[in-house]
């Protein structure tokens, strides 16, 4: 039977059955129902699970669909992350699909304007461009990519085109966390999990505003007060936020001195003798910044520069507050969770700061215990699941492998069945470098997917210079600042318009099924890549040939027959997500990040890896890594084992990282600190959330938040227009005083979501030399009232 006849028959089968059931076939299940005057509200309504489209908390959502559209959203009560609760973005996430200017047709730029075209034409144009410039073409991806989208991009670019110029926007968000974890523990991703928020008695926040950014986790913790639990929230921050309002202690520090504060706590633990001697002796090694080993006494000497008096002068924290932190960490009975996100990661010494928080927990032994853990919060819904685990980074390969390692390259080439030697051994451009290379012409083209660099890159005027002269392909769902400079715009399916899998902050991989059709001609990102790759294969591009000369990115069924998934009508009939997920699984065991078969995620409300089969054949997730009886890779009797330690000794490393001033501090010309960030209502560049009426109405526009005393001195009140200018650019914004947060004196805060007033024209593009992550949290500006 031909495929098209078969498709026709399956559709007929479905249509007939659907007609039968909706014509009220009486069923046993509804026998005895009360009949009455009004229609039941849930008639024809179908519900299915999905992880939320937005932040790295990864709440479980139930999506209500009717007549092919999403009509309602509820929290998934069976999901252990959020237990039925969402935040305002989550409750309205279904509306993000229905903005009026949704992209529905592929477009090519002709004569300066984007004109609609066919998919065949668009695919051909992209394929030819990538073939022509195959070693100077990049893919800029995203922590909002599903796992198989990231995986397909890897296979296409790294396996097929021999290029490592693949980096995600997660470089701007989690890179410091990744390098911090790898340098301290030998492997990425947190040891603890959200259960630790239920078990702890103290949470210390390091420069993050979780009341707005991870609200469901925030309320999970603070709502424990309703049960009369004695819990303590300590907020170490550079500005007073909603999180501070809920805190028992608010500690306001001078930007960048968090490095010194962490070292001060460690110094105090050693001086007072309140460090966990047994744990440190057996599980911790000390290293100097240059990598040489240190004895604990040498480490103690290093910390002599960080006494409470000295750090108090540097950071602005009173000595009493520094000592209080040392009391908290030095108390062996206290269960402490440290949380952090962009304040620590978007930092020119972000890697060091991650290491230093780990030092505090390692010295105090508050790690790998229920309720005691340093927990790095993730920003995006799948920065972990996709970028970090699939390795969609310029230097990486899937499953914790790296391009520099010949064995890793060979394993990957074998699993992908590429020609031997296909993978390039030299790391490619990381995010900021990629756009600088585009500006200089070293990179000829870039395919941007699920992200908006023309809005979110730092120091936009320089970083995005000449972008419109280069060949830019953008796959997205709405017009954005980046589609405005694109040569090719490809309309994409979003969220529940396609099958997908995400991985959240606590290593929980969560699957969902497609529930509604994408609008117009919008198509899955995976399909787009398969189509372009196949077009390159048709045009004879060697890289797209597997070892046996067949198509490298072929999808095969159980009998080994190739399915023509580059054809859209065929792609839709097959669960390609499942096939690619199963292929990717094989990569995950190397660093004990095992993920389970796809079907397990269908059944579950997410599973935290490593997921391993027990002797009864059941798949069991892992709550806490490196801990005996919880982590299947820790042997009995080992207690805590950091089994991925590079030295093979099962020990974590405490790095002696110094304080170093930031690259740009306020001076006479530019006397004010600028901090940028997000707000509760908007997600990143707000291309989705500003099209949701509830969210747009709640936060319709951006502003510059000033300290009330500073505002009084300047003669500025709320609503007055203020110019914020740095050495790089300027922007005019309305002031907000006594609003949602209170910046410290001499500093301002600007949320970055507003497209028509891009604060990133002002921000600094210096980055941590280890992680390459830029610092959006501090640069020097001057303010001027303009109205």
């Amino acid at each position: 039977m031909s495929i098209s006849r078969r498709i026709f028959l399956t559709r007929a089968a479905r249509a007939a059955a659907l007609a039968a059931v909706t014509a009220s076939v009486p069923s046993l299940a509804s026998a005895g129902a009360i009949t009455g005057p009004s229609a039941e509200p849930t008639d024809g309504l179908a519900w299915d699970k999905a992880p939320c489209r937005f932040c790295g908390t990864g709440c479980g959502v139930m999506v209500g669909t009717k007549n092919g559209r999403v009509v309602a959203i509820q929290g998934d009560r069976d999901n252990p992350v959020n237990r039925g609760l969402l935040c305002v973005k989550g409750y309205h996430v279904g509306m993000a699909l229905y903005g009026a200017d949704r992209l529905t047709r592929p477009m090519l730029r002709k004569g300066g304007r984007l004109q609609p075209t066919s998919w065949d034409k668009a695919v051909d144009v992209v394929a030819r461009a990538m073939m022509t410039d195959h070693d100077s073409f990049g893919i800029y991806g995203s922590g909002q990519w599903t796992i198989t989208e990231g995986y397909t991009a890897m296979k296409m670019l790294k396996g097929g085109m021999g290029s490592n110029h693949l980096d995600p926007n997660a470089r701007l968000c989690m890179a410091s966390a990744v390098v911090g974890l790898v340098t301290s523990f030998g492997v990425d991703e947190p040891a603890g999990c959200y259960d630790d928020l239920d078990a702890c008695d103290t949470v210390v926040c390091w420069g993050n505003n979780w009341a707005e950014m991870h609200p469901v986790l925030f309320s999970r913790f603070v709502d424990r007060r309703n049960k009369h639990e004695k819990i303590t929230l300590i907020d170490i921050s550079t500005r007073y936020t909603r999180s501070s309002e809920a805190a028992d202690h608010y500690l306001e520090f001078v930007p960048h001195t968090d490095l010194a504060i962490a070292n001060c706590i460690c110094g105090q633990l050693l001086e007072r003798g309140s460090w966990d001697k047994d744990f440190v002796a057996s599980k911790v090694r000390f290293k100097a910044n240059d990598g040489s080993d240190l004895s604990i006494d040498q480490y103690r000497d290093f910390l002599a520069a960080y006494t409470p008096d000295k750090v108090s002068k540097l950071s602005g924290l009173p000595v009493g507050q520094l000592e209080m932190l040392a009391d908290v960490f030095g108390d062996p009975d206290r269960k402490v969770v440290s949380l952090w996100c962009m304040g620590v990661n978007q930092h020119t010494r972000g890697t060091w700061m991650n290491n230093l928080i780990y030092n505090v927990h390692l010295l105090s032994g508050k790690i790998c215990k229920p309720g005691s853990t340093p927990f790095s919060l993730t920003g995006q819904p799948s920065a972990c699941g996709t970028c970090r685990e699939v390795g969609t980074l310029a230097h990486a390969l899937p499953g914790g492998r790296v391009v520099k390692n010949a064995e890793h390259r060979q394993q990957t080439e074998d699993m992908w069945n590429t020609r031997p030697g296909a993978i390039n051994a030299t790391p490619g451009y990381h995010a900021v470098a990629m756009f600088r290379a585009l500006a200089s012409g070293d990179l000829k083209g870039v395919w941007v997917q699920v992200t908006n660099p023309a809005h979110s890159m730092p120091n936009l005027n320089e970083t995005l210079a000449n972008a419109s002269d280069r060949f830019v392909v953008v796959s997205d769902v709405y017009p954005t600042a980046t589609t405005a400079v694109a040569d090719v715009v490809l309309p994409s399916a979003m969220w529940v318009e396609k099958n997908g899998v995400f991985g959240n902050s606590e290593r929980r991989t969560q699957q969902w099924f497609k529930q509604v059709e994408p609008p117009g001609e919008a198509r899955d990102d995976v399909w787009q890549m398969l189509a372009v790759a196949h077009r390159m294969y048709e045009l004879g591009f060697e890289g797209m040939k597997a070892r046996d000369g067949r198509f490298l990115l072929a999808i095969r069924d159980e009998e080994g027959r190739e399915i023509e998934t580059w054809r859209w009508e065929v792609f839709q009939r097959v669960n390609v997500d499942r096939v690619l997920f199963e292929e990717y699984r094989a990569f995950t065991t190397k660093k004990h990040k095992d993920i389970a078969p796809y079907q397990e995620y269908v059944k579950a409300h997410g599973l935290r890896w490593p997921v391993v089969q027990d002797d009864k054949g059941e798949w069991k997730e892992t709550a806490r890594r490196f801990v005996e009886n919880e982590d299947p890779y820790v042997e009995n009797g080992a207690g805590v084992d950091f089994y991925m330690a590079k030295a093979g000794d099962g020990k974590a490393i405490a790095w002696a990282r110094p304080y170093e001033p930031p690259p740009e501090s306020p001076d006479e010309e530019y006397p004010v600190w600028l901090c940028t960030g997000r707000v509760l209502e908007h997600w990143h560049t707000a291309t989705m959330t500003r099209r949701v009426p509830v969210l747009n109405n709640a936060m319709p526009r951006s502003y510059v938040e000033l300290n009330p005393d500073d505002a009084t001195e300047m003669g500025v009140s709320s609503g007055d227009k203020v110019r914020i200018e740095s050495r790089r650019g300027s922007v005019v914004l309305p002031a907000w005083v006594r609003g949602r947060s209170r910046p410290a004196r001499g500093s301002v805060f600007v949320p970055f979501f507003e497209e028509t007033r891009l604060i990133n024209a002002v921000t600094l593009d210096e980055y941590c030399p280890m992680s390459k992550e830029p610092d959006y949290k501090k640069c020097a500006v001057r303010l001027e009232k303009v109205s």
Binding site: G36, P41, T42, A211, R242, E245, A484, R701, E755
Partner: protein, 188 residues
């Protein structure tokens, strides 16, 4: 209750259909079409509270100015039914959840005088249930809505509730669930 002049008025109607006729293309090249919010929110009880919700069971938006930073002050008015002149407040049905601003956001919650770009969105939300069904004319109506998040009957059906139409006719009886059954089909 404070009202800021020029504060946006949510469009009436049960479904959050297209809000205004001004379409906005949120791309760099296009200017944002701004429009000041419509007439001030009318004085008096919020006649159609459903228009504060994007769909049945969505958390309602806040129809008044909110000036506090976080959620600490919400309970002052919403911890109980409070009379304020001719108005009274809605008692929260879920006092155990204290981080109010996580789910309930304002409308034009910034200071007055700021422009709001209205966006066109074709969302049609899940309809609200009608009245509870009755097995016969004298039977107590079945509860037509879900129980989750609505465990406190009094917060909407109490005798001093601002929305007169919602007040229960027999407030002297407090054991509601004795007669009013749940339709577990509504419990999604």
């Amino acid at each position: 209750m404070r009202r800021a002049p020029g504060e946006g008025q949510l469009r009436p109607g049960r479904a959050w259909a297209a809000l205004l006729s001004v379409a906005v293309t949120l791309s760099c090249a296009a200017a944002v079409a701004a429009e000041k919010g419509g007439a001030a929110l009318e004085a008096g009880p919020v006649a159609d509270p459903e228009r504060l919700r994007a769909f049945y069971t969505a958390p309602p938006a806040i129809p008044h100015v909110v000036t506090s930073m976080g959620s600490g002050e919400c309970a002052t008015c919403h911890g109980d039914v409070r009379e304020l002149g001719e108005r009274s407040t809605v008692e929260t049905p879920h006092p155990e959840l204290r981080n109010c601003s996580q789910c309930h956001v304002g409308v034009q919650s910034l200071n007055e005088g700021l422009e709001v770009a209205q966006v066109v969105n074709s969302w049609r939300g899940l309809e609200f249930p009608g009245e509870g069904r009755r097995a016969h004319d004298w039977a107590p109506p079945v509860v037509p809505h879900r129980f989750f998040f609505r465990e406190n009957c009094n917060s909407c059906h109490g005798s001093d509730n601002a929305r007169v139409a919602m007040r229960g006719p027999h407030p002297e009886r407090s054991s509601c669930l004795q007669c009013h059954a749940f339709d577990m089909g509504a419990e999604f």
